[in-house]
Amino acid sequence: MTPNSPDSLAATVPDGALLALPPDNSLPSVALARALVRRGAKRLRLLGVPVSGFATDLLIGAGCVAEIQTSAASLGEAGFAPRFSAALKAGSITLRDATCPAIHSMLQAAEKGIPFMALRGIIGSDILANRPDWKVVPNPMGDGVSDPIVLLPALSPDVALIHGVMADEAGNIWVGRRRELATVAHASKRVLATVERMVKGDMLEDEKLAPGCISGTYIEAVAVAERGAWPVALLDEYGFDAAHVAEYARMAKTEAGFAEYLDRYVLTQQAQAAE
């Protein structure tokens, strides 16, 4: 049996899928994003959990994305996300703005199997005015006339792409304190994960490791991708490669520069073999 690779996992993601992708500080599988670029994925709908970073900009630049729902998109210290901004300006992607806790709540509603969750705030924001799927109702536990409150529908991504530190033989993934990844795994129909390394046994049997695990119940497939979060950071495993992201930000200012970036770091045999 051929072991899974980021490319074999990416091959199972259908065009048009709603993909949940955590941001740069929360274990996105950038390896899977690169593999999706290589496979030429089309019309993906991305969800920032709850914001979007490097991997999202890469997928947008490569023409893989039709739609994005997020609370913000940026490259952090390296500035605005250049291909996101360009695609918005060109009108080639549809954007639905959200606010961070709303994305968490919509995923938590899906995690709990309830049709909606309430959230305070937001009223009077144009974010709400542009979200016909969010609804303001009088607080049904209040007196029923005053105290308006926002209800958010459950949101269940088709596929979540995450990068964990390790996976075990039982299919569990260790993601440490980034528990929002557990929520997105629970809420999503499928989870594809890359990890730095495989470990023996069942981490749920280890009291110290279990709290940082996402149970294999939720994980469809795992591939090893060393430094699979690169150029973003992975917990205490490795830091943010600020020089590389700055290089990306410079190159991705233009379409030609972005194409050159892809050639150099994503599409070549060498880049692929490094996954």
């Binding site: 500080n25 304190r177 528990r179």
Partner: protein, 251 residues
Amino acid sequence: MDMTIKLEERLAATLARLILDPAAPPARHIAVGAASPIPAAACWLVKKQGHPVRLSLLHKRTGNPFSEGSRELFDLTGQGRIDLFFLGGGQIDGQANLNLVGTGEWPGKSVRFPGSFGSAYMYFMTPRTILFREEHSARVLVQKVDNISAPGVSEPGVFRRGTAQALVTGKCVFAFHPDRARFSLASIHPGETVDSIRAATGFDFDVADDVPQTPDPTEAELALLRGPICDEMLETYPEFCARVFDRKLAA
């Protein structure tokens, strides 16, 4: 030690004084978002001065304060445990409305900013928000934001714990008055005048007869900023520390 006061130091000390404002509700727990070295320095200044305050620095990679992932900040705030937060904006208007989304037609067809992050929630649910934007120009401080990411005031009946306490810029400090949804000029940084500020500000604001100058940081404050506070911030903000305090992380 170079005793020229840098603007960043002045702003940090100014923010620290606003945090400690005895007229405001107490700040026992302050959260500081990403890419906010000056607010972070201000919070450290409050803490290093010996005030009991818990700081949650959201973007600490190692030793991140949250063990429930990125939703914990919002849940904490929902519980009423975060007393003070900082927000900025690509545009800020005279009613303290914030635009973090972009200019022109929604969702920012003209200039797109990164996005609203949690502002549409935090601004309502935190008892106090200090608005901070170093750039003070008519481009940023506008009469009316193009898009409201988070409103400065809400209609009666809308659940809201607080709003802006003040807006601190590179030129001055404005106090915010939610009762009349207007800013007033609270203090002017050295080198500025009421007229220079009016010229750089797109919104109307109230001006008292006698607007004080923003005080200099004290020597004790400067010593804290340049010493122990720089130590604390070196890992998270190496470029800031190098530029402002001329200190580099040991290789």
